[in-house]
């Protein structure tokens, strides 16, 4: 009998298909019966009775066969698993040995794969943490933001999730799709008595807020309905605040903190793992930390407008859908409620309609960063693809160089399939080693990547390497490794052992198939590099436009400081506003100072209706303006020229101020300054300078225009200067304001005196930030700079890799064609021709690839549009430049090997075997 090898070898007895098992059992039993019958015949039985006797002695044959099959099948599965693992392990061990024999290639491969996989893993961990990681609440997919849409209100598309108390009350009574619903609004709180006064950002919520989130307190309790009117106001604080401000003291529960007259009582602490980001709570709290929660209710003590359907859009609603209810169903029902509300509104407005909006919280929170992150993911994936392809090309040339080695192995009986599998396992090994290294680097470098990230990417602070990142990292590593090995595996897999043996080492040219496939790889890399460069170029040009766009204000030698004064009473606040600009101007070295309710580039807020006094506008045509309250020398400090009229004066303050009622208020709003954009919006035909002295309607009142200011980018960098109406600070009752000052002194010299000047007037006022005014633009362009920096890095890397690929191809081909080149030179071919011949071999596919890259950039242009500013995605100069840079890099990569090609000494080259 034939002896079997050790268990686990690929012999027929061990690895059988399901049908084979049945056949195996049948044959065995048949063999037994035949031999038994034979023996009986030898004892003198007739053949047929002998067979019958054999079957009788055997017992129930079907039953035995069934039992054998059952055992054998389960055995087969176990063996097959073992065999596969065994073979894989064998291949990996062999692969590792092969790789160690070529340490140069292995080192390069592992290092570049580690780089690519590390970058991919790092970007994915950001994408995962920001976009994919679920919210830290039970059944997070049920959490939605609920909003109103009044399409006829100008600018409605920007006003998402600003809801009126009247609508919120209607939803609470009538909507049946929600388990719980809570309204909220951002707020702040000044913490004094512990050193420097500190301002906390928080959220006012209706008491059901934590029921919506389905959260449990770590300490103390959450809100009950009576908390809404309790005094002092109860607050629930985050774990981070509990640790930073209260030293994690458990005794803080029940204690009263805060400035006198503004005390709050701490009643609960959130668990540490429960971080609620402002961006998850709608537009009002977006971009701010959420450090505390305090309750309110639309009850008798509310004090605001509870019935108007068309104003007081100042709240956001977060709700939990009932299980099984979709956002779409909830929206359909909400739209019915909204339609009824618009029809029954006390402030009915003809032609105005109301709709609803229901959006999952996570979708809302991540909408702004989704495209940018996927773009980066695509870019880093392209770099990894280039790395794999590049290594694949390098590997093929190694195989070509050692093809006799492979041919001998094939001649000795190694099947091409087996050899291909071998190469694939080598690739897998490379990928996994590179992957582990890369992931380690990614984990180490992640903090740097995050620190670079702009503040307005939500949830960025919570990005970490979790199981999902690791799983994807390993998947990416394996894929990259296998992809690297794909081309070389195909090469050895289709190998004909005779071909390379016939072609002796003295072959004059590289095989055409090998050159073509490598040219294909070069072209592919050139295409991807061109695409990445084109996208980076478009983003870079957008960024340049944003950085250099005239803002209408001057940031040189100017600073801003935020001052929070919500711990003071109304009269004190007015006194502080009145005196502070002069106080700051008195600091030596300060040339001018002013104050404003809203710094530029902070978005459009405080939007009011405006127009020609007495004119009735249809609802959709009602002009709207951004109202800003200013004091001191705001315009000269900001460098915003007044094109007509004058700045406010203290003497503009009306007799008998402050107003005691609405009638007083109407009488006392006497002076405004309008921006040129406002003038163009309301009086398109009139010269703005002629408007000074005339009245304008703002929010139902008709003050007199005392000045016209030039436009400034008060909203955002990406939109045109909005219409702005400036009002004097005394018409405003702030909790915080921004000081602006013009000085040649450096930040370090001015910060101290500035604080002293503020605290002299307002000792309890926190000053959370002092920044150069230029930081406004830097902050406003942070997301673009982040995207551009990373994308440019990836594009540069891609370009470098493509150039290396070109260099390797040309150098390899020169080395292999030495003899041919020598003959050509000997026959008198001009050096220029030889160089052209060599370079053309690489530059032709690069040129084709660059064209494909430009076409790809044109194809994805539509997807890029939302990331670009003031540059068309098909900008020919940028796309052309990207292609040119790739071609230039490839040409440079050709120079050295092409020069070498013509330095071949014919005597030497022809003698080389």
């Amino acid at each position: 009998m034939k002896r079997s090898g050790r268990t686990g070898d690929l012999h027929a007895g061990s690895v059988l298909g399901r049908a084979d098992v049945a056949e195996d059992v049948r044959r065995e039993l048949e063999s037994h019966l035949a031999q038994r019958a034979e023996e009986l015949e030898a004892e003198g039985w007739e053949p047929e009775p002998a067979r019958r006797e054999a079957e009788r002695l055997f017992g129930d044959r079907d039953e035995v066969a069934r039992a054998c099959r059952a055992v054998a099948s389960s055995h087969r599965r176990a063996v097959r698993r073992g065999v596969l693992m065994d073979a894989l392990w064998q291949d990996i061990r062999f692969g590792a040995r092969t790789l160690l024999r070529g340490p140069g290639f292995t080192l390069v491969a592992v290092a570049t794969l580690a780089l690519g996989i590390g970058a991919t893993t790092a970007i994915f961990s950001v994408l995962n943490g920001v976009l994919l990681r679920p919210l830290p609440f039970p059944d997070p997919q049920q959490l939605v933001l609920v909003g109103e849409r009044a399409p006829q209100i100008p600018g409605a598309e920007k006003m998402r999730f600003f809801d009126t108390p009247s609508a919120i009350q209607a939803w609470r009574e009538q909507a049946t799709d929600f388990q719980a619903m809570a309204a909220l609004q951002s707020t702040s709180l000044t913490l004094t008595g512990q050193g420097t006064p500190r301002v906390l950002d928080g959220v006012r919520v209706t008491p059901t807020f934590f029921d919506v989130l389905d959260a449990k307190p770590e300490l103390g309790r959450f809100f009950v309905p009576t908390d809404a009117t309790a005094s002092p106001r109860p607050v629930v604080i985050t774990d981070a605040l509990w640790r930073s401000a209260f030293n994690a003291d458990r005794g803080v529960i029940g204690s009263t903190v805060g400035a006198p007259g503004n005390e709050v009582r701490v009643i609960g602490v959130l668990p540490a793992n429960l971080r609620i980001e402002g961006s998850e709570l709608g537009p009002m709290a977006a971009g701010k930390p959420t450090e505390f929660f305090t309750p309110f209710e639309f009850g008798p003590d509310f004090g605001g407008d509870l019935t108007s359907v068309w104003s007081n859009f100042n709240y956001t609603v977060i709700a939990r859908l009932k299980p099984g209810v979709t956002s779409g169903q909830a929206l359909a029902h909400l739209n019915v409620i909204q339609a009824n509300l618009a029809a029954s509104a006390p402030d009915k407005a003809p032609g105005m309609t109301l709709q609803g909006e229901v959006t999952p919280v996570l979708d809302y929170a991540t909408q702004g960063s989704r495209q940018g992150l996927w773009l980066l993911m695509g870019a880093v994936g392209a770099v990894l693809l280039i790395i794999s392809v590049n290594l694949g090309g390098l590997w093929v040339s190694r195989i070509v160089d050692r093809r006799r080695d492979w041919a001998i192995r094939m001649a000795l009986g190694a099947e091409p399939g087996r050899l291909a599998r071998q190469v694939m396992s080598e690739g897998l090994t490379l990928g996994l080693i590179g992957g582990v290294l890369g992931m380690a680097c990614a984990a180490a470098g992640l903090q740097g990547l995050l620190a670079m990230g702009p503040k307005d990417i939500p949830r960025l602070g919570q990005v970490q390497v979790d199981w999902r990142v690791l799983a994807v990292g390993f998947l990416v590593s394996a894929t990259a490794g296998l992809l690297t090995a794909l081309l070389p595996a195909l090469r050895v897999g289709r190998g004909d052992p005779h071909e390379p043996l016939k072609a002796t080492g003295t072959a004059t040219t590289a095989g055409p198939a090998s050159v073509r496939s490598r040219q294909g790889l070069i072209g592919f890399q050139a295409a991807l590099s061109t695409l990445l460069l084109a996208v980076a170029g478009l983003l870079g040009f957008s960024l340049y436009q944003l950085m250099t766009k005239p803002s209408g204000f001057s940031t040189e030698h100017a600073m801003e400081a935020k001052v929070v004064i919500n711990s003071y009473g109304r009269a004190e606040r007015d006194r502080i506003l009145q005196q502070i600009a002069a106080g700051v101007e008195a600091i030596p070295g300060v040339q001018a100072a002013g104050l404003t309710s809203h710094l530029p580039l902070q978005g459009e807020t405080w939007v009011d209706a405006a127009g020609v006094p007495g004119k009735q506008y249809p609802p959709a045509r009602q002009p709207t303006v951004n109202v800003r309250f200013i004091g001191g020398e705001y315009f000269s400090t900001m460098g915003i020229p007044l094109v007509a009229g004058r700045n406010f004066r203290e003497s503009d303050r009306p007799e008998g101020w402050p107003p005691k009622n609405r009638a007083d208020e109407e009488r006392m709003q006497e002076a405004v300054i309008i921006s040129e954009a406002t003038a163009r919006l309301i009086w398109p035909e009139r010269d703005p300078r002629t408007l000074v002295g005339g009245p304008v309607m703002v929010n139902g009142l008709t003050p007199t225009i005392v000045g016209v200011a030039a436009d400034a980018l008060d909203g955002s960098l990406t939109s045109a200067a909005p219409a702005v109406v400036y009002q004097p600070y005394w018409n405003w009752d702030p909790y915080a304001f921004s000081l602006v000052l013009r000085t040649a002194l450096p930040m370090s010299a001015i910060a101290g005196p500035l604080r002293a000047a503020v605290w002299k007037l307002a000792p309890d006022a926190p000053i959370p930030e002092i920044e150069p005014l230029s930081s406004l633009r830097a902050t406003a362009t942070a997301p673009q700079r982040y995207q551009f920096t990373l994308l440019m890095t990836f594009a540069g890397l891609a370009l470098l890799l493509a150039a290396i690929g070109v260099y390797a191809l040309v150098a390899h081909s020169v080395a292999r064609r030495k003899k041919e080149l020598a003959i050509r030179l000997a026959l008198g071919a001009p050096v220029r021709t030889i160089r052209g011949l060599i370079a053309g071999q690489a530059l032709a596919p690069v040129g084709l690839g660059a064209l494909v890259g430009v076409a790809a950039a044109l194809a994805i242009g539509r997807l890029l549009r939302s990331l670009l500013y003031s540059v068309h995605p098909a900008n020919p100069a940028i796309l052309g430049a990207a292609a040119a840079v790739v071609l230039l890099a490839a040409a440079l990569a050709c120079v050295l090997p092409a020069r070498q090609a013509t330095k071949v000494d014919p005597h030497v080259a022809l003698r080389v075997e």
Partner: protein
């Protein structure tokens, strides 16, 4: 699966495995040869339905105690040959020890007549 023949000894549960391993301890055998060998060695004292050997052999194979391979018999017939593995030898030794202890204990009890 094992049926006791008329006037024959009952094969104790679990002893078939030891019997098979012992039979293979002298060298590889195919199924029919194992069956014949047991029949002869025991003087046909146990009447086992001959088919019952095969599921038992497959179980031993699955447990790694025997290995199987197709081969050709002396009479030129194809048959599945079983061979004891190292694990099978260990199992046989421990099975024999258990059996001897069992027999000795039974013998002592039955000879003395004490329960």
């Amino acid at each position: 699966m094992l049926r006791v023949g008329d006037g024959s000894l009952e094969l104790l549960k679990g002893t078939l495995d030891v019997l098979l391993l012992k039979t293979l301890s002298h060298g590889p055998l195919h199924g029919y040869a194992i069956s014949r060998s047991i029949r002869r060695a025991t003087d046909e004292a146990f009447t086992v339905e001959e088919g019952a050997l095969y599921p038992a052999l497959r179980r031993l194979e699955k447990r790694g105690l025997v290995e199987a391979e197709w081969g050709v018999t002396d009479t030129g017939r194809e048959a599945r040959f079983y061979r004891l593995t190292g694990a099978g030898e260990t199992e046989l030794a421990s099975g024999l020890r258990t059996w001897h202890r069992y027999v000795a204990a039974m013998a002592r009890v039955l000879a003395d007549g004490h329960p």
